[in-house]
């Protein structure tokens, strides 16, 4: 697989060593992506809600439709496209490590309003479950979805703030993310995810 876009080919060379993804060179494919918080909160929860989720959205829809909305968003992410293409091209196992939920620092941002409202809702306990369930449905039969470890989640809505402190960007230059960054996580989070990942690939996964 390769990209039509030069910038992405360059990015692939930087992260993987080649400007393309060699399907024969690996036994397992692991896709990291799917912006869970952006999709679930900003795009859907601000306008819609179900009785079960009790989100702040003004228009009540069935849980079935809430799921359809979120699944659709997940499938249309870059990660979703890549998983589709990999699944079409190889029978080798594919794993999805979803982007982490935003950290509680999001309260300091305008976008935090929705997340804050979700956290305060009486049904916030279902939020992380909902995101995970929809990720599973979105990629059923194509990829094993890794669940964000429960011990990294606060209030079922956020990633604990300790994991977003002192995060750095691993681009061509190592850049320290600003103190207010609520999207990127630090090395401790990465280590925790890798631990979880290897624990998962060690046992047969039931999709």
């Amino acid at each position: 697989l390769t990209s039509d876009e030069p910038k992405t080919r360059k990015s692939l060379r930087f992260t993987g060593g080649t400007p393309f993804i060699s399907l024969d060179a690996y036994d397992v494919f692991c896709v990291v992506g799917c912006r869970t918080s952006v999709n679930a909160a900003n795009l859907i929860a601000q306008d819609y809600s179900s009785v079960r989720l009790g989100l702040p959205g003004g228009q009540l829809v069935s849980q079935e439709l809430m799921d359809i909305l979120l699944i659709d968003r997940f499938r249309k992410t870059i990660a979703g496209t890549l998983i589709d293409l990999l699944a079409q091209s190889t029978d080798k196992p594919i794993y999805l490590i979803p982007d982490p939920l935003w950290s509680t620092k999001v309260f300091e941002e305008p976008r935090g309003v929705i997340m804050g409202a979700i956290a305060k809702s009486t049904h916030a306990a279902d939020y992380a479950d909902w995101v995970y369930r929809c990720l599973q449905s979105a990629f059923a039969g194509k990829a094993t979805v890794m669940r964000q470890p429960a011990d990294t989640i606060e209030n079922n809505v956020f990633t604990a703030q300790t994991y977003s402190q002192n995060s750095i960007g691993l681009g061509r230059r190592v850049v320290e993310h600003p103190e207010t960054d609520f999207v990127h996580m630090n090395g401790a989070y990465g280590a925790r995810i890798l631990e979880e990942f290897f624990a998962t690939v060690d046992k047969p996964a039931a999709l």
Binding site: L1, S62, Q63, K203
Partner: protein
């Protein structure tokens, strides 16, 4: 000697107005009573045929008020299956004048009735719009919460409307005997259970329909003074009748009553216009040619012909989606044969048509026809050895477009 008939134009004579004119060429057929501005907010409702009217108004630049919608990026078919994008709100088909009046009263008072929740296979349905949730909801309480939310949206919508387009469809209905609540489907067809001690058949007469429409108009004008009305009668025959009459006799009775009431209302009120779509489709010079092979559904060709007559008086706006506005001029078919039915691009959602199933196969699961089943495949992931596995990790964050059909994403 001159008589009042001497100076009448060709349209006033059957021979020159109909018999010698092709059904697609009816001239000087409809004269509007009042104009509709492109910024007038329009609400549409009614029986299945009303969906065609709503679709075409939208496509031709008219401002259809939408009180309940889904994000535009969602697949249109999914939205439609759940009652979105069909009418201005998710009330489903409103077949009778009484059903319209009931919706207006309920939305005004926020009335929800626990007995209007029907169950089937452990799922719960709003009996007043049973097709908008194809697989039902999880609990009766959830249905009531949804109905309350829906009624709020409907109330807000009617407070904002300038033109109300309503298509009268049926006179036959099923009602709850104790409360008189009218349902769009017979209990047991989509959900619920038919119990003759609880539910009964009603066939409204001309006085009933007239009084209901007058009351509905009054209520709407109280909510929105200055509101104007465009009425049509659905040319779609009854799928089945629960009366003792033959279905053809029952259809003629029903449509005649509805057509009469439209005439009475349009004659009586300056703010009520009647658009004769019924006449275009059922005219003898059409020789049933606007109907599909089941002699019931109206073909897209028929809908186009109807809408052309409408837009001759209410001109279409130049809009991006011109599929309806730029439909080729349609004339008589060479040789005069029946134009082959054309599957309508705007498939309509019609619960009443589900009754057809009872006339064919008693064992057919009616509900299965409107449910969307989802199947998720399973794949076994073999155990991988951590020591020997070569793992490729891809960060799917930047705007990448792989060599396959791709689309803009936000991943």
């Amino acid at each position: 000697m001159s008589t009042p008939y001497s100076s009448l134009p060709p349209r006033n004579y059957w021979r020159s107005g109909v018999a010698e004119v092709h059904a697609t060429q009816l001239a000087d057929f409809y004269k509007k009573k009042f104009p509709i501005a492109f910024d007038d907010k329009i609400v549409t409702a009614g029986s299945c045929f009303a969906q065609h009217v709503a679709n075409n108004l939208k496509k031709n630049g008219y401002n259809i008020l939408v009180a309940e919608n889904l994000p535009q990026w969602l697949d249109e078919d999914v939205a439609k299956q759940h009652g979105y994008g069909i009418y201005s709100a998710r009330y489903g088909n409103i077949y009778t004048a009484r059903q319209l009046l009931q919706l207006l009263r309920d939305s005004r008072t926020g009335t929800v009735r626990p007995e209007d929740v029907w169950e089937k296979n452990g799922r719960f349905y709003d009996a007043l719009r049973p097709s908008v949730e194809p697989i039902g909801l999880e609990s009766a309480d959830e249905v009531l919460a949804h109905r309350k939310n829906h009624l709020e949206k409907v109330a807000q919508m009617f407070a904002d409307v300038d033109v109300f387009v309503f298509t009268l469809g049926l006179t036959e209905a099923w009602q709850r005997l104790d409360s008189g609540t009218i349902y769009p489907t017979c209990p047991g067809v989509i959900a619920g259970r038919f119990d003759p001690d609880v539910f009964g058949f009603v066939n409204f007469n001309v006085f009933d329909v007239y009084n209901d429409m007058v009351e509905a108009r009054k209520l709407l004008l109280e909510i929105k003074p200055g509101l104007r009305f465009i009425l049509t009668v659905s040319p779609v025959p009854l799928t089945a009748t629960a009366s003792d009459d033959h279905v053809l006799v029952a259809t003629t009775r029903s449509k005649s009553i509805l057509r009469s009431v439209c005439a009475m209302l349009a004659d009586e009120f300056d703010d009520v216009d009647y658009f004769p779509s019924y006449e275009i489709i059922t005219a003898p010079n059409a020789r049933s040619f606007f109907y599909d092979t089941n002699l019931r559904s109206v073909t897209s060709f028929g809908v186009e012909t109807v809408m052309r007559a409408f837009f001759s008086e209410h001109p279409a706006k130049a809009v991006t989606d011109t599929s309806a506005a730029t439909a080729p001029a349609l004339g008589p078919r060479r040789g005069g044969g029946r134009r082959p039915p054309v599957a309508s691009k705007d498939d309509v959602v019609c619960e009443e048509a589900l009754l057809e199933a009872f006339g064919q196969l008693a064992s057919v699961s009616v509900l299965s026809a409107i449910r969307t089943s989802r199947q998720f495949g399973l794949r076994w992931i073999p155990k991988s050895s951590r020591a020997t596995a070569r793992i490729s990790v891809f960060l799917a964050r930047s705007a990448i477009f792989f060599r396959q059909p791709s689309f803009a994403t936000d991943g």
